[in-house]
């Protein structure tokens, strides 16, 4: 009975989160007609999101590329198919590993920070202060941040691809002895624009999801500073789940 009760509770929790997110998306969509994101705030958000996440994305991408190269190389070298390393690497990294890992890191860094920031503004009545000054928090705070995360996540994915490629080539050479020239040729030969675009679509979708989830959890905070901590935690979890769900859907659709 308690197990059943707990299961029921979990289902209700999920429904509550999905419901709240749906309502929040509704509010965001309404604010898009006509689009009125605050220009100054959008630039500020773009700058801060970019600065905050660039180092961590570079590190993540470099190692993700390295890992992919090792996995692919050990398999491929068994068959002495050196010219397939670049292809296997690019396929895995650009389509899947890059956007996924960068998305998760981005969520932990930028998303969590965003939830904490908006949550603090909520519990210290700064959001109320904005509303009294006749400023709609969705126009002023939410849209700029969602735009910034969408744009930056897409851009960072491109930058991440470059560093992942570097990490992959370096690792394949150092660990498995694949000539970088062979690697590069195989990469440029077989990795298609479609693979690149597939990753880009994912990155954009993840950025959008992280923006919506982190803003929504921030503005829903109740119960002072402890409430902010709880919201950050749930926000990161829900972001991660949405990333996996979106990844699944996009992979299935863009087959």
């Amino acid at each position: 009975m308690t197990a059943l009760g707990r299961f029921g509770g979990a289902v209700l929790d999920i429904c509550r989160v999905v419901g709240a997110l749906t309502l929040f998306c509704g509010a965001v969509l309404r604010a898009l007609l006509p689009p009125r994101a605050d220009r100054v705030e959008t630039w500020r958000a773009l700058h801060r999101v970019g600065v905050r996440s660039l180092p961590i994305v570079i590190v993540t991408a470099f190692f993700a590329g390295g890992i992919a190269a090792i996995q692919v190389s050990t398999y491929v070298t068994k068959f002495r198919a050196y010219e397939a390393v670049g292809w296997g690497f690019g396929f895995v990294t650009f389509r899947e590993l890059g956007p996924l890992l960068v998305g998760l890191m981005f969520s932990g860094r930028v998303g969590a920070h965003n939830t904490a920031e908006l949550g603090t503004m909520k519990v210290t009545e700064q959001i109320d202060a904005l509303r009294i000054l006749a400023i709609d928090p969705v126009h002023f705070l939410v849209l700029p941040r969602i735009v910034a995360m969408l744009v930056m996540m897409t851009l960072l994915n491109v930058i991440g691809n470059v560093f992942a490629l570097g990490g992959g080539m370096l690792t394949a050479y150092a660990m498995v002895g694949v000539d970088p020239f062979v690697f590069w040729n195989s990469f440029t030969e077989y990795v298609m624009l479609a693979d690149f675009i597939n990753g880009l679509v994912k990155a954009a979708a993840f950025g959008l999801a992280i923006g919506i989830v982190s803003c929504s959890f921030g503005l829903e905070v109740r119960g002072g500073a402890p409430g902010v901590g709880r919201a950050v935690n749930s926000g990161v979890v829900v972001s991660a789940v949405s990333i996996f769900v979106l990844d699944y859907l996009i992979t299935a659709i863009l087959q």
């Binding site: 603090t120 210290t124 009545e125 700064q126 109320d128 202060a129 509303r131 009294i132 000054l133 006749a134 400023i135 709609d136």
Partner: protein
């Protein structure tokens, strides 16, 4: 004019305001007093539409807030200056940018904003703190910055939630005088929530006493001071039996 009629509000099944009605005439000043948790701050939030009542009606000037959408409320709120109990300063902006924020939103020229911000800073006796951030200030200083921000655009409605919390008697006196001056200068209608009953009495035309969500009395200051409960509160501050 500010008017509440039969306002009720509950949170999670707990009734925090019960059938509250009072009015403040245009250019009037109401002192709103009561023990902590009585619902004073909540009344101010109802008046600017940040919280909607469960029952009852709220008027601000000629406008009834109840039927307004959030977007329509925005237009009404431009006329309100609110001093928040907990300052609510934007912590990513300097003090000067905080105070100038309402003017910047109205796209006033930078020189005018700077001049008016400095005037307010001088008036609250903090002339040099413009470049500092709210986190570097004491509670009393934040309160005064909040006052400066709330009044920089000369609003015709002033809602002041404990404007002198954390201040020494000399500064308290100055702040009350400043509020009174600003109100006269802007022909504003004001509600002042405060526990400083001795300072409150001479500057208010009317007093309202709130006790655990229920309005005990609301009326002209002289009449209020005849009312035994109001008198006891005004003279003794929080009655020990109600202190929480």
């Amino acid at each position: 004019m500010i008017r509440l009629e039969g306002v009720c509000k509950s949170f999670d099944g707990v009734e925090v305001l019960r059938d509250v009605s009072f009015a403040v005439p245009a250019r009037g000043t109401l002192g709103l007093v009561g023990a902590g948790g009585a619902g004073k701050s909540l009344i101010l939030k109802l008046l600017c539409g940040l919280v909607r009542p469960d029952r009852g009606r709220v008027w601000l000037g000629e406008t009834e807030l109840g039927p307004l959408s959030e977007r329509e409320l925005m237009g009404v709120r431009g006329r309100i200056g609110m001093i928040f109990q907990n300052y609510a300063l934007f912590d990513y902006l300097t003090v000067a940018d905080n105070i100038g924020f309402p003017l910047a939103r109205m796209q006033r020229p930078a020189a005018e904003i700077a001049a008016r911000v400095q005037t307010r800073l001088d008036q609250v006796h903090l002339p040099d703190i413009g470049p500092r951030y709210p986190r570097e200030l004491s509670g009393g200083m934040k309160k005064r910055v909040c006052l400066a921000r709330a009044t920089v655009h000369d609003p015709p409605i002033m809602l002041c939630d404990d404007p002198t919390a954390g201040l020494d008697p000399v500064t308290t006196n100055r702040i009350f005088r400043l509020l009174k001056d600003l109100q006269a200068q802007n022909d504003a209608t004001a509600i002042i929530v405060s526990h400083e009953t001795a300072y409150l009495r001479p500057i208010c035309d009317a007093i309202a006493l709130l006790d655990r969500g229920r309005l005990v009395f609301a009326g002209p200051t002289e009449a209020a001071l005849q009312h035994p409960e109001v008198r006891a509160f005004m003279e003794a501050g929080v009655r020990p039996a109600q202190a929480r």
